[in-house]
Amino acid sequence: MRIPERDLEAISAYLDGQLTQGERTRLEARLQTDPGLREAYEQLHRTRAVLRSLPVMRAPRNFTLTPQMVKARKSPPPAYPVLRLASVMATLLFVLVMVGDLMTPRGTALAPVLEPQAEEGATLMQAPAETEAPLLESAPAAEPDEESRKTMAEDQAENQTAPPPGMMEMAAPTPEPTEATLLAPPAAAPDLSAEAGGSVSEQREREAARPLPATWNIWRILEVVFALVALATGLAAAFLRRGMPG
């Protein structure tokens, strides 16, 4: 006679003494009154007894190991766990750096890259005599052509020592400070420009923008480094894993 699977499970567990006291009491009460369940119980009891009557088989031979059998298998290379851990760590760091990179405001992060070009463009738009003076003062030996070929790092260093008026104009678009900067004598230009663009919010913007070229580079470099390390160690670990026992 067919019984629900739930009852079958209860009878099976009952036979193994795996029911709680409450479940056991309920089942025993049902067994007294339900002939179908009683029959199923007897069949399952008999089945279990038959299974348990199976003779224990003797191993047909000794399964002792010989040194050859053990040597035939590669033991896990000691570098494997190290490489595996390194791969996992590099992957985690890569993800962290990616998240950090994505959470960095994209507009401000790109601004420093555009800055030197904008600065040069803005410089060209100014009257040559007035705009060249601060540049010459901060880097007197530099020719205009050489100036345009400067690397971004050099530009950054220059910006930090003597911010040119072009940059001031980018940071402070209001006409008054710009005029003050442009009209100021060359020797006083840096000081004046600092004062001209020197509202608190503008200074904050400049300060926030200055370290970004380095930050921008570090994000990218770290991403590439961690990705390469994760890939290399992962591949090396996978290579070592081959031939190891499961």
């Binding site: 399952l44 399964f63 190991l65 059998m69």
Partner: protein, 202 residues
């Protein structure tokens, strides 16, 4: 030398110590492999594979029942052996009929036009039971073998197969239910002790 001392020295690379453990447990391990695989040669291969794997991974043994740890390894080795044989079938696990077709019904033993008594004379009961076990899915076979052949309790079995207790209960009940159906044709072959069951207490 006790078991834990043998394990420690085996872990340090002493093969003799490990072989003493092999001799102590090879019957247990072979029985499990045979009940899951249903074939002696396959069980032999899985048993050997399990002991090699156990030796190579002895460092992953974290204490507790060494027998349960070995049974876990041999059960997994048996699954691997089943997969290998599925990919490269050599000997069919099921009996063949006259036309060379695999017989899925266990009644091939009884359905020979013979009286049960004659069948009983010809076929050992143990083979009949094993044929019924062979009808089960591998995961059910493993649980039945662990509980009803190895005599483990549910929590030990859950540890060996890496599944929750509820899964053990469910698989065991369904396996026993199927075995009950499979063995219906053989009750007459059973010794009288099994035919006169009427006790209620487990």
């Amino acid at each position: 030398m006790d078991e834990q001392a043998l394990i420690i020295t085996a872990r340090q690379g002493d093969l003799d110590s490990f072989n003493r453990l092999v001799l102590a447990y090879q019957d247990v391990v072979y029985n499990q492999a045979y009940r899951v695989l249903g074939e002696k040669q396959a069980a032999d291969d899985a048993t050997q594979e399990a002991f090699i794997s156990a030796y190579n991974n002895l460092r992953s043994y974290r204490g507790g029942s060494f027998r349960a740890w070995l049974l876990r390894i041999v059960t997994n080795a048996s699954y691997d052996e089943l997969r290998r044989r599925k990919r490269r079938p050599t000997t069919p696990l099921e009996p063949l009929d006259d036309a060379g077709e695999e017989l899925e019904s266990p009644h091939w033993l009884a359905d020979q036009g013979e009286l049960p008594e004659e069948s009983a004379e010809r076929v050992e009961l143990a083979i009949a039971i094993q044929k019924c076990i062979d009808q089960l899915p591998a995961e059910f076979r493993a649980v039945v073998a662990l509980v009803d052949v190895q005599g483990m309790d549910y929590s030990e079995v859950a540890e060996v197969i890496g599944k929750p207790l509820g899964t053990v209960k469910s698989r065991l009940a369904r396996a026993r239910g199927r075995l009950r159906d499979c063995l219906q044709g053989f009750w007459e072959l059973l010794p009288s002790a099994f035919r006169l069951e009427s006790e209620v207490e487990p």
